[in-house]
C-alpha cells in the first residue's frame, strides 16, 4: 500500500511530476552521454596504446624505464629466445615479436634529416603496420635492405616507393655505419611528429647496421588486455627464478601519461556526475517540498488514524524513490537513445598533433546506464529526506490544522 499510495501521489499533480521527470531526464541524458564519451575516449586511447606497445614489453629494466638508450641494454639473442619461450607458454598470447630501435640520419644527395628507426620482424603480423601503408607495400623479409618511411618524412625528403635513400647510424661499438636502402612504402602513423621521423626497417638489416645480434625489447600482445598485470608479475617471478636480466613493463607502465589522461577524464566525469546530482537534487527537493507541504493535512489524518512517524516518513521517501526510479529509467533510456543516434552519424575528428581522422563514438553500456540511474535514485531519495522528515515531525494537531 505504501508504494501504491506513493506512486499515486507522485502522479497526482501530473504537470509538476512531468517537470521533475524532464529535469531528471535531461540531466541523465547529458550524464549518460558524457560518461559514454569519456568511457569510449579512454578505451580508444587504451586500445591504441596497447596495439602500438603491446600488452607488455620485456627488456633491460633501464631501457624500459627510459634510463638508458636501447643500444646500452640490448638483450642477447639466446636470452630473448628464453623470454619468448616463456611468453609463448602463456595462454591467450595473441602475438610476440622482438624489436630494436635506433636513431640516425636518412637522406640522399639532396640532404639528410633525423631518423627514428624501428627494426621489426616483418613476418610478425602484430607489427607489420600493413593497415597504415598509404603508398607502396610493407617490408619484405627480415634481411631485406628496405625501409618504410613515415609519409611526412617521405614528403620532406621528396622520395616515393622505389627510390633509394641512405641510412646512417652509430654502431654498438660506437663507430658510424651507413647503408643504401630502397623505400618500399610510406605509412600514415597518425601522429604528425612521429611520422616526420619514422622509418621501419627489417630487424636483420637493423642488427647488421648496428653491428649486433641482440634485440632491444620483446613486445607481447594478449587476447585480453586485463591479463597484462598478472602475466607481468608471473614473468617477473620467472625471470628472477631463472636469473635472466630482464624485466616486464605493462603498457600502462610504459605510458605514464595515460594515467594522467585517465585521471583528467575521470575528474571530468566525476564533475559532470556531481553537477547532475546537484541539479536533480535541488529540482526534486523543490517539487517534493511543495508537494509534501500541500499534503500536511493528510499527514495529520493518517497520524490520527494511528500511522507512526516512521510510516509517514517512509511514505514520503518512497515518493522520492518512485520519482527516482521512473526518472532514472527514462533518463537512462533517453541517454542511450541519444548516444546511439550520435554514433550513427559517424562523426570524426583529427586529434591535436595528429593527421588521421578518428571516429568520435559514445559508449553505451551497463555503466553509462547504471550510473545515471543510481545518480537519479540517490538524488531523489536524498532530496525527499528533508521534507519527509519535516512532515513526519509535525504533531498530529499541527498537521490537522494545516489548510
Amino acid at each position: 500500500m505504501t508504494i501504491k499510495i506513493a506512486t499515486r501521489n507522485v502522479f497526482r499533480n501530473t504537470r509538476r511530476t512531468l517537470i521533475s521527470l524532464l529535469v531528471i531526464g535531461v540531466g541523465l541524458t547529458i550524464l549518460s552521454f558524457v560518461l559514454g564519451f569519456v568511457g569510449e575516449a579512454i578505451l580508444a586511447a587504451k586500445r591504441s596504446l596497447a596495439m602500438e606497445l603491446g600488452a607488455f614489453q620485456i627488456g633491460d629494466p633501464r631501457v624500459l624505464d627510459g634510463k638508458a638508450s636501447g643500444l646500452e641494454g640490448l638483450i642477447p639473442p639466446e636470452i630473448a629466445e628464453r623470454a619468448l619461450a616463456l611468453v609463448r607458454g602463456l595462454p591467450g598470447v595473441a602475438g610476440a615479436t622482438t624489436q630494436v630501435r635506433f636513431a640516425g640520419l636518412v637522406g640522399d644527395e639532396r640532404g639528410s634529416t633525423l631518423l627514428l628507426a624501428r627494426g621489426i620482424v616483418p613476418e610478425d603480423c602484430m607489427t607489420d603496420y600493413a593497415c597504415m601503408i598509404v603508398a607502396g607495400r610493407g617490408l619484405g623479409t627480415t634481411d631485406a635492405r628496405e625501409i618504410v618511411l613515415g609519409e611526412r618524412l617521405g614528403a620532406r625528403l621528396g622520395v616515393a616507393p622505389g627510390d633509394r635513400v641512405n641510412v646512417a647510424t652509430g654502431t654498438v661499438a660506437g663507430t658510424l655505419n651507413a647503408a643504401t636502402v630502397t623505400v618500399v612504402g610510406l605509412i600514415q602513423y597518425g601522429e604528425a611528429q612521429v611520422e616526420e621521423r619514422l622509418g621501419l626497417v627489417p630487424l636483420g638489416f637493423a642488427q647488421r647496421l648496428l653491428r649486433t645480434n641482440g634485440v632491444e625489447r620483446v613486445l607481447v600482445w594478449l587476447d585480453d588486455l586485463d591479463r597484462s598485470s598478472p602475466y607481468a608479475a608471473e614473468l617477473n617471478r620467472a625471470f628472477s627464478t631463472e636469473r635472466l636480466p630482464l624485466a616486464v613493463r605493462t603498457w600502462d607502465e610504459l605510458t605514464p601519461f595515460f594515467a594522467s589522461l585517465q585521471t583528467f577524464w575521470s575528474a571530468f566525469s566525476g564533475f559532470t556526475t556531481l553537477a547532475v546530482f546537484v541539479l536533480v537534487f535541488f529540482s526534486v527537493l523543490e517539487v517534493l517540498t511543495i508537494s509534501f507541504l500541500e499534503r500536511t493535512r493528510e499527514v495529520g489524518t493518517v497520524r490520527a488514524l494511528g500511522a507512526s512517524r516512521g510510516r509517514v516518513f517512509a511514505g514520503f521517501v518512497t515518493e522520492g524513490l518512485v520519482i527516482g526510479i521512473v526518472g532514472g529509467l527514462a533518463g537512462a533510456v533517453a541517454g542511450a537513445a541519444v548516444s546511439l543516434v550520435f554514433n550513427s552519424l559517424g562523426l570524426t575528428f583529427v586529434p591535436p598533433g595528429g593527421n588521421m581522422p578518428q571516429p568520435i563514438r559514445v559508449a553505451v553500456g551497463a555503466s553509462t546506464l547504471a550510473i545515471p540511474f543510481l545518480v537519479a535514485l540517490g538524488a531523489t531519495v536524498l532530496s525527499s529526506l528533508y521534507p519527509a522528515g519535516k512532515n513526519a515531525r509535525l504533531t498530529v494537531v499541527e498537521a490537522l490544522r494545516s489548510v
Partner: protein, 244 residues
Amino acid sequence: MQQGSFCYVAGTPVIEAQGLTKFYTLGKETVRALDRVDFTATQGDFAVINGPSGSGKTTLLNMFALIDRPSEGEVLFEEKPTSRLTEGELALLRREKIGLVFQTFNLIPVLSVAENVEYPLLLTKTPRAERRERVAARLDEVGLSGFERRRPDELSGGQRQRVAVARALVTEPRAVLADEPTANLDSGTGKQIMELLQGLNRDHCVTFLVVTHDPSVVGYAQRVLTIRDGRIQGEEKRGAPGPA
C-alpha cells in the same frame, strides 16, 4: 465488536477526563482552552459535547483522541492513564481502539473508497482476507456497497462522510470520536449521518463522542454536555435518544 441491540458491558468506562486543563501560548498571552474538565464516557454511550466556537470542545476531543496532550490532568483510556505513554504507544491505541470522524471527512484522495476504509486495517496488519471482509461489511452498513472503486472526489459530501464513518468503525474500536460531523453537510444529509451514527452506536455497543455546535445533533444523544470557556457547564442525560 459486540453486535445486536443490547450492550452487555454498558457502564464500563472507556474514556475519562480527570482535571483536564490545556493552556495555549499565543505570543505573550496564555490562553486556557480547557479548565479542569472531568468527564467519563462509558461503553455504549452516545454523548454530544455541545458549545459555541472557541469553547474548547475540539481541544477536548483531541485529548480524548490522544492526538494532543493536556497541560494538566489526565486522560484515561479503558481506565489506564495515557499521559506517560510514548508517541508510538499512543499511535497504537489510536489505530486499535479509537475511530475518528472529521468535519472535513479527511479521506485520502488518491485512494478509492474501499482503500480508504481498508487503510486503518493495514496499520494494524490485519490479514488480507479479513480486511476485505471487514471493508465490505462496513461499506454495506453505511450504504455504500457498489461504491468501492470510486475516488473521494467522485462522491457527494454525505457519501464521503459515510466512508469516513466506515473507516472509523472498520478496526472495531472501543470509541468513535466525531468532530462536527455534520458541519459540512446540508441539513438533510446531516440528519442521515446522525441517524447512521446512532444506529451504529446501538448495533455495535461502541462509545460515540460527538462534538458539535449544531443544535439539531443534540437530539440524537443519550448524554449532552455543554462546554463554555473550557469548562463543562452541565450535563443532560436522556433515556431515549432520537432526532430533535
